[in-house]
């Protein structure tokens, strides 16, 4: 079953990226923020001497999970149920939203507090709740900023990364009527304090909280939330009812496996040795925490992703967003260009797999990368994102072999030339001769400033190189014949194509 909800771009990536590039403030904000986080990450990762072993362990545990997911999910369900939780299963976004909405309705409340959660963003839960007359209040500071701005997150970990603090101040004063705008500065501490006061009342009055989970432990039935602000701890402990929406890939087999991931995640995500708050809960404990604990296990395209032998490694992802922070494409365009809850390199391999191959806009995502490999280097669970990107490109091309395509005609012709040395040599010669007139247009560096379509896509932003006056193989042939002539005792014939002093 293919995934639905907010994991699908509506316009092709190049179009969306072009729009984002037009905003210089956005690019400045992104550059500053991504550089700060990635430098911090690299410092705290460098101090861990067994980091590579930890990465390998993280990948191995996740691969083990993916190889026996049904069994582990059932184990998790059994343990969580035995501990007093109620486990629900949802095939897609609509089912998950219906389950959660129904559970909230049962409580009779019309306001819920939320812990920042990718899964609930993915299924568009806030919108579904609003339709049912239920107000969802985001309690993570950055998520709250995005919500008050009527915007969507642009980063997995730092949802408001596209705003600077001046913009954030304006969003908070517009969205929180109780704030005296003349008193609020754009100091981070002042902004956090304003949000804290705004949220405190809601924490104390809320009857229902909704969260995601970073990990679901099969052998204990526990859920784990890793966070920085303490808002999560409030949501997870104060309300009577707690509903957690959890992607099926969040499973880890045993409690001891958390040892690996609780080292990998904070260092990769926020560049901290350890995150301030880690909450772990197992079912219901009378007199302590929520009385009703619900867990919604979400598929939404994950089973389809699991079916692809190369692409399934995307399901190892622990949502640290290290790949976003090092991606040179993300740094230029930000998260909204990817059109999905999951942006950046991981989004480019996750979203198209979750929605399936018929989604035209998502088909452009695997091409939203130069294959520079920076994402693979930092991934704490060793997802070879460049490999999966190329794989998904191949899957897309193979699936559409029967459709007309200029690109395929051109690449097929090039392949035909290149597999035959004679045709190839002739083509090189023809290209060299054909380019000769272009040399008249070349600047002092021997490059062309403007070329006709389709090469104009290149020369719009940069000069184009021109074929040399003599190809390498022509030079080699001349040299070889000179050498044999020399060997035969003849004087070396003058060769006009060689510069004086050039080596032989």
């Amino acid at each position: 079953m293919t995934g639905t909800g907010r994991i699908s771009a509506t316009v092709p990536f190049p179009t969306a990226a072009r729009r984002q590039l037009a905003d210089p403030q956005l690019r400045a904000n992104l550059r500053r923020a991504t550089r700060t986080i990635r430098n911090r990450r690299s410092q705290v990762v460098d101090e861990v001497t067994d980091w590579e072993a930890l990465r390998a362990a993280g990948a191995a545990i996740k691969d083990d999970v993916l190889s026996r997911l049904p069994e582990l999910l059932e184990e998790f369900e059994t343990r969580a149920t035995a501990a007093g939780a109620r486990v629900h299963w949802a095939r897609d976004a609509a089912e998950a939203c219906a389950v959660v909405t129904g559970l909230v309705r049962e409580t009779g409340t019309d306001e819920v507090v939320k812990v920042k959660s990718m899964a609930t963003q993915e299924i568009g839960l806030n919108e579904a709740l609003a339709e049912a007359g239920i107000t969802a209040v985001e309690t993570d500071l950055a998520e709250l900023i995005v919500q008050l701005a009527g915007d969507t997150p642009s980063h997995i970990l730092v949802p408001a990364i596209h705003y600077n603090r001046r913009q954030i101040r304006d969003i908070l004063t517009a969205g929180m009527p109780e704030i005296d705008a003349s008193q609020l500065t754009d100091e981070p501490a002042a902004l956090a304090e304003a949000a804290r006061r705004h949220l405190r009342e809601r924490f104390l009055s809320a009857k229902v909280a909704i969260s995601g989970a970073n990990f679901a432990v099969a052998d204990t039935g526990s859920l784990v939330v890793v966070e920085s602000e303490g808002n999560g701890r409030m949501c997870l402990t104060l309300p009577d009812t707690l509903i957690s929406v959890v992607g099926v890939e969040k499973i880890v087999p045993t409690f001891a496996d958390l040892e690996v991931f609780l080292q990998l995640l904070p260092r990769s995500a926020t560049g901290e040795r350890m995150n301030p708050y880690t909450s772990i809960w197992t079912g219901v404990h009378p007199g302590d925490g929520p009385r009703d604990v619900h867990i919604v296990l979400l598929d939404n395209g994950r089973s389809d992703t699991l079916a692809d032998e190369v692409g399934r490694q995307a399901l190892r992802c622990i949502r640290c967003s290290a790949c976003l922070n090092v991606c040179p494409v993300y740094e230029q365009v930000g998260g909204h260009a990817y059109g999905s809850t999951y942006p950046g390199p991981i989004g480019a391999i996750l979203s198209p797999q979750m929605t399936g191959p018929d989604n035209a806009a998502n088909r452009t995502l695997p091409y939203a990368s130069t294959l520079c490999g920076a994402c693979y280097d930092v991934c704490p669970v060793q997802i070879d994102i460049p490999q999966v990107l190329v794989h998904l490109r191949q899957v897309g091309v193979d699936a559409r072999r029967d459709r007309p395509s200029l690109e395929r005609v051109a690449l097929r012709a090039a392949s035909g030339l290149m597999r035959d040395r004679r045709r190839y040599a002739m083509a090189l010669r023809a290209a060299r001769r054909g380019a000769a007139p272009l040399r008249l247009l070349a600047g002092s560096r021997g490059t062309a400033r403007r070329l006709p379509w389709p090469l104009s896509a290149w020369t719009a932003s940069r000069d184009a190189p021109l074929p040399a006056r003599q190809t390498f193989r022509e030079w080699w042939a001349v040299r070889a014949s000179d050498e044999s002539a020399q060997a035969a005792g003849d004087p070396v014939a003058g060769d006009a194509t060689h510069e004086p002093g050039e080596p032989r």
Binding site: P14, T370, G373, V397, R473
Partner: protein, 243 residues
């Protein structure tokens, strides 16, 4: 040791000076180099754009051409990465081809790997009296893990002043067909790279891949006072060789 030069299609047509430079360096060090005429293109463009079926014949042709040699050397990090990382994946499913690829791929080396690891030298006897910045291209840096080999070779060149390039390990934005499929993003990345190159005070910007250099150089050509792009092999071949 039978060394074959895989010049790469881009160098064959557009940058033959880089191929000549490799020949000159190796001959100066006392090695004979062969240029198998049957060679064409490694197929990277096809494979990375998603055209696996069209890339596969080029894999077969490459293997047939270079199998007889002890070492294959190419002045291109990305083409060598294609052979070493991409070929095993493309050949999967064909046992004969897979075996041939498994045997040939480890013998296919980027120039700095041949010089430093196999021939055991960092001083190739070159002179180049200019300020040079080195841009580590992505596939050389992250797929081949060339590390500081090219920089060590450059540092040993007489007269050469190696200057630091800010954010050197950031991708330049070329990415093969990426530059055509996402031209605006590519141009934005290029602008950052050109700004760093122009402000670092170098006369030349060196790299191990002429495809990246065509892109960067194309941007630098539009900036007054910008360094000139040069393949590092052409520096190592100095003093006479010029582009």
């Amino acid at each position: 040791m039978r060394i074959a030069l895989f010049v790469t299609c881009v160098n064959d047509l557009i940058y033959p000076g880089t191929g000549r430079a490799v020949v000159r360096i190796l001959e100066r060090l006392g090695h004979q180099v062969d240029f198998p005429q049957a060679q064409t293109c490694c197929g990277q463009l096809h494979a990375n754009t998603g055209y696996r079926q069209e890339a596969l014949p080029l894999v077969r042709a490459f293997v047939a051409t270079f199998e007889p040699y002890d070492v294959v050397v190419a002045p291109s990090g990305s083409c060598v990465a294609m052979v070493r990382d991409g070929y095993p994946r493309l050949a999967a499913g064909d046992a004969t081809l897979s075996a041939a690829v498994a045997a040939l791929a480890p013998r296919t080396l980027e120039l700095s790997e041949l010089l430093v690891d196999v021939l055991g030298t960092t001083d190739v006897g070159a002179t180049f009296e200019h300020r040079v910045a080195y841009h580590p291209t992505c596939h050389g840096l992250r797929a081949l893990r060339l590390g500081d080999r090219p920089r060590r070779l450059l540092a040993a060149v007489r007269g050469l002043d190696l200057v630091e390039l800010a954010e050197a390990e950031q991708c330049c934005g070329f990415g093969g067909t990426f530059a055509l499929k996402n031209p605006e993003v590519s141009a934005a990345m290029l602008a950052d790279k050109c700004a760093a190159a122009t402000s670092c005070g170098a006369d030349y910007l060196a790299a191990a891949d002429n495809s990246c250099l065509a892109h960067i150089g194309g941007g630098l050509a539009r900036r007054p006072g910008a360094p000139r792009p040069i393949h590092y092999a052409e520096i190592l071949a100095g003093p006479e060789e010029d582009r």
